[in-house]
């Protein structure tokens, strides 16, 4: 069965790109429009990987990660941040919130797929 990925980003074009690329690579992708939407979707299904943007309305990526890590079934699910900031501060905040890694925007579909493969195979 295809691995499931939750892609959280408030930008529709980014979401489509992520979704399209990963589906092409054989993953089952669910999109969420912001942290709150992502959290709601994560409650309905335990995904194999969560990709989340940081800066979003309603709930940002760091908060989403913290919320997910507070859920029993999301203790070990890999979570990657897709962020335009790759500063050390951002990384340490991400790490503290419970992210497993980061991917700097902009990225191309190849790199995204490569990273996702590294994480969930």
């Amino acid at each position: 069965m295809a691995k499931t990925i939750l892609a959280v980003d408030d930008s529709g074009s980014l979401r489509q790109m992520v979704s399209f690329s990963l589906k092409a690579a054989g993953y089952d992708v669910t999109e969420a429009v912001d942290g709150q939407d992502g959290l709601n979707k994560a409650k309905q299904h335990t995904y194999d990987l969560v990709l989340t943007d940081q800066n979003m309305p309603r709930m940002d990526g760091l908060t989403l990660i913290k919320m997910l890590r507070g859920m029993a079934n999301y203790q070990h699910v890999p979570i990657l941040m897709l962020t335009t900031e790759s500063s050390d501060e951002m990384k340490s905040q991400g790490r503290a919130a419970g992210a497993n890694g980061w991917l700097v925007k902009p990225f191309d579909p190849q790199r995204l797929t490569e990273v996702v493969k590294k994480v969930i195979g």
Partner: protein
């Protein structure tokens, strides 16, 4: 695997356009003195999101502008630089430039590179100026390092030879400061601010050297007293090359089971803190405008459909309505006792068809906000240009109107709003002298009234000048009299070429317009009324039908033909006496209705058909009213009233004079819709 990125472009363009509109709305609403942090965040996010998309899809010019914009917004949002009206102006200008760039990529529209360059410089100057403000404060060293840090973070796209100079002047007379500012301004982009001891500081962004700056300054003052520092942002490479940095990383290489446990523990702890944090965030969130939350939801639960598909659907439903009417007519003479089941089913079909039709029509409906949202910016810019103060208010932006109409109302409304700003609302000093508040009030309101939508443009300005309009009308050779009622005087401004504006400004008042406004609105089946009181303001009231696709019609018979007359024009119908009919040389036939002589149109002559009755006293005369003018139409008989689905004759056949469209009747026959306004116009 290669993915063709261009397939996502359209989504990006749409999204960017929406974000820019949102950004403009937020900027126009923001309270410069004490901005809401949430609004600043939202404004920042629009720039941030556009930048993210643009960078991903390789639109470097958009990325560059949004990058500078985002950096400045970020500093404002973090409270490093206070928001000023100048910022808002620059951000709005940046919005226009971004829109231009997006259109450039989208439609290959021309792009003004100079404007792009200018806005980047302007934003950078504001950033640098913020730094000067900070540097002038007691915490100089800290602020300076913050500036340096902020700049280092900027992977800005400034050409390497462009330098930022901070020029601190000694005490200098204001006259000389002004002269210097304009001289230095020739070298590049200049901004100035005052230090606490009232000395002036310039920030100059230029490609010229320090020597040139000193040379210019030494005309006015002693060059040794100048303090020039280079504060050019440290420029990092636009993006770190791929070989050096993969652009991603993991905090734990590969999680072992033990590590997983540790992570889980740490996360659990973090989650406790997070829960507290999120709780407060959520409470804050709950207070937010419910619209905004709804907008987020709407995004995930709505789809984009092409307008052709919608129109096709509407057309099909129109056909269904006709078919349903046919069935209803066919079963009308069946015995209810014998066909009870069938009659009940058809009754249900009628109700369902009606509901379906309403639901489908609502798809084409768009909120007036689509039109209203473009005005705050326009009013703001115009008011700024004219030196006026205007509070712009919209009401009923959620009122819905057919998409076809909403697009056609934009131009007339724009004209009316421009007129109000330009000629209606007075300058602040004039208003003060008249005992009014300095800021004028301009209201744009929409509401549903019966089967119509009413849109009002009101201002509390000077009002229309009766005497001047009358004088101008005489000059234009229009027939007027001094004792005309006000309503008739106001209607004069709709005459072609009519303008009473004393000075033709570059904003409005070139004398074209009001007649076009009126014509456009009439063409949509609407009317315009004016109410005005000298010194108190004016209101332009536009009334439009909700949709052009369905029409309340009166069917009439002439000979064997059935025509539809739009019910909106019908005032009354009557059977005239022979004595009430008059023929006046040069003026054609007239009919006397309650002491008023109205022109009488013989419809059978207009359409060249054989009538049942040739004399009006045998048939029926319908009194019609369009734009305050009345006329009578002579027909054989009235058939009845019904809602008809309007079919365009031009696209299905060709344009026919005196006919505005066609419809299919319940019995399957085709009936033409009489173009009443054209008939009235033919009377001259």
């Amino acid at each position: 695997m290669t993915v063709d990125m261009s397939q996502f472009y359209q989504v990006f363009f749409d999204e960017a356009a929406e974000l820019l509109a949102e950004k403009e709305r937020l900027l126009l609403d923001v309270d410069v003195a004490s901005p809401d942090p949430e609004d600043l965040d939202a404004i920042f996010r629009t720039a941030h999101s556009i930048k993210g998309g643009a960078a991903t899809f390789g639109f470097n010019d958009i990325t560059e502008v949004t990058h500078v914009l985002e950096s400045l917004l970020d500093r404002i949002r973090k409270g490093e630089i206070p928001l000023t009206a100048e910022h808002v102006d620059a951000f709005l200008a940046a919005k226009d430039v971004l829109e231009m760039l997006i259109n450039g990529h989208k439609n290959g529209a021309a792009v003004d590179r100079e404007a792009v360059e200018q806005i980047s410089k302007r934003l950078q100057a504001l950033s640098a100026l913020g730094a000067v403000h900070a540097a002038a404060s007691p915490v100089e060293s800290k602020a300076a390092s913050a500036v340096q840090e902020a700049h280092t973070g900027n992977a800005a796209s400034v050409p390497a030879n462009v330098q930022h100079y901070r020029i601190e002047l000694p005490e200098t007379p204001q006259r000389d400061v002004d002269a210097l500012a304009s001289e230095l301004g020739l070298l590049g982009h200049i901004t100035q601010s005052l230090l606490e001891d009232q000395r002036t500081v310039f920030v100059l962004i230029t490609e010229e050297s320090v020597d040139d700056i000193v040379a210019i300054c030494s005309f006015v003052l002693d060059a040794d007293a100048l303090k020039i520092t280079n504060i050019t942002p440290v420029i990092a490479a636009p993006s770190v090359s791929a070989n050096e940095d993969p652009g991603y990383g993991f905090f734990e290489p590969l999680l072992t089971e033990i590590q997983k446990k540790e992570v889980a523990d740490a996360a659990a702890e973090a989650a406790v803190q997070a829960a507290a944090h999120v709780e407060s965030t959520e409470r804050k969130q709950a207070r937010r405008d419910s619209d905004k939350a709804a907008a987020g939801n709407a995004e995930s639960s709505s789809i984009r459909v092409s307008i052709e598909k919608v129109d096709q659907l509407i057309n099909l439903v129109g056909e269904l309505v006709i078919t349903q009417a046919m069935i209803e007519q066919r079963i009308g003479n069946l015995d209810p006792m014998l066909h009870e089941g069938l009659l009940n089913s058809v009754g249900q079909l009628t109700r369902n068809t009606h509901d379906l039709q309403e639901a489908v029509m609502s798809i084409r409906m768009m909120p007036m906000d689509y039109v209203f949202s473009r005005f705050p910016r326009m009013v703001r810019d115009m008011a700024g240009k004219l030196g006026k103060k205007i509070d712009f208010v919209t009401q009923g932006a959620a009122t819905e109107l057919d998409k076809g109409l909403i697009e056609r109302i934009v131009d007339p409304l724009t004209h009316l709003v421009r007129n109000s700003v330009d000629h209606g609302i007075e300058l602040p000093e004039v208003r003060r002298a008249a005992g009014k508040s300095e800021a004028g009030r301009l209201t744009l309101a929409a509401s549903h009234q019966g089967g119509h939508i009413v849109i009002e443009v009101s201002d509390d300005g000077a009002g229309l000048n009766r005497d001047r309009i009358l004088a101008k009308a005489v000059q234009q050779g229009l027939t007027v009299s001094d004792n005309m009622p006000d309503e008739d005087v106001w209607q004069l401004i709709f005459a072609p070429g009519f303008s009473t504006a004393e000075v033709v400004t570059d904003i409005s008042g070139r004398g074209v317009g009001m007649d076009v406004v009126k014509r456009n609105i009439t063409a949509m089946g609407g009317t315009v009324e004016i109410r005005s009181a000298r010194g108190f303001g004016s209101t332009m009231r536009i009334s439009l039908p909700l949709t052009l696709a369905i029409l309340d019609g009166m069917s009439i018979k002439v000979g064997e033909e059935v025509y539809i007359v739009p019910l909106a024009y019908v005032i009354e119908s009557l059977q005239p006496e022979k004595t009430e009919l008059k023929e006046v040389a040069g003026q054609g036939r007239l009919i006397k209705v309650r002491d008023e002589y109205l022109p009488l149109i013989y419809l059978y002559e207009q359409f060249a058909i054989n009538p049942r009755y040739a004399d009006p006293s045998d048939g029926i005369v319908i009194i019609m009213g369009v734009d305050g003018k009345k006329a009578a139409i002579f027909v054989d008989s009235l058939v009845g009233q019904q809602q008809v689905v309007v079919k365009n004759l031009e696209s299905n056949f060709r344009k026919v004079p005196g006919i505005s469209g066609a419809t299919i009747l319940g019995d399957g026959g085709v009936s033409l819709i009489v173009d009443v306004s054209a008939l009235m116009r033919s009377l001259g």
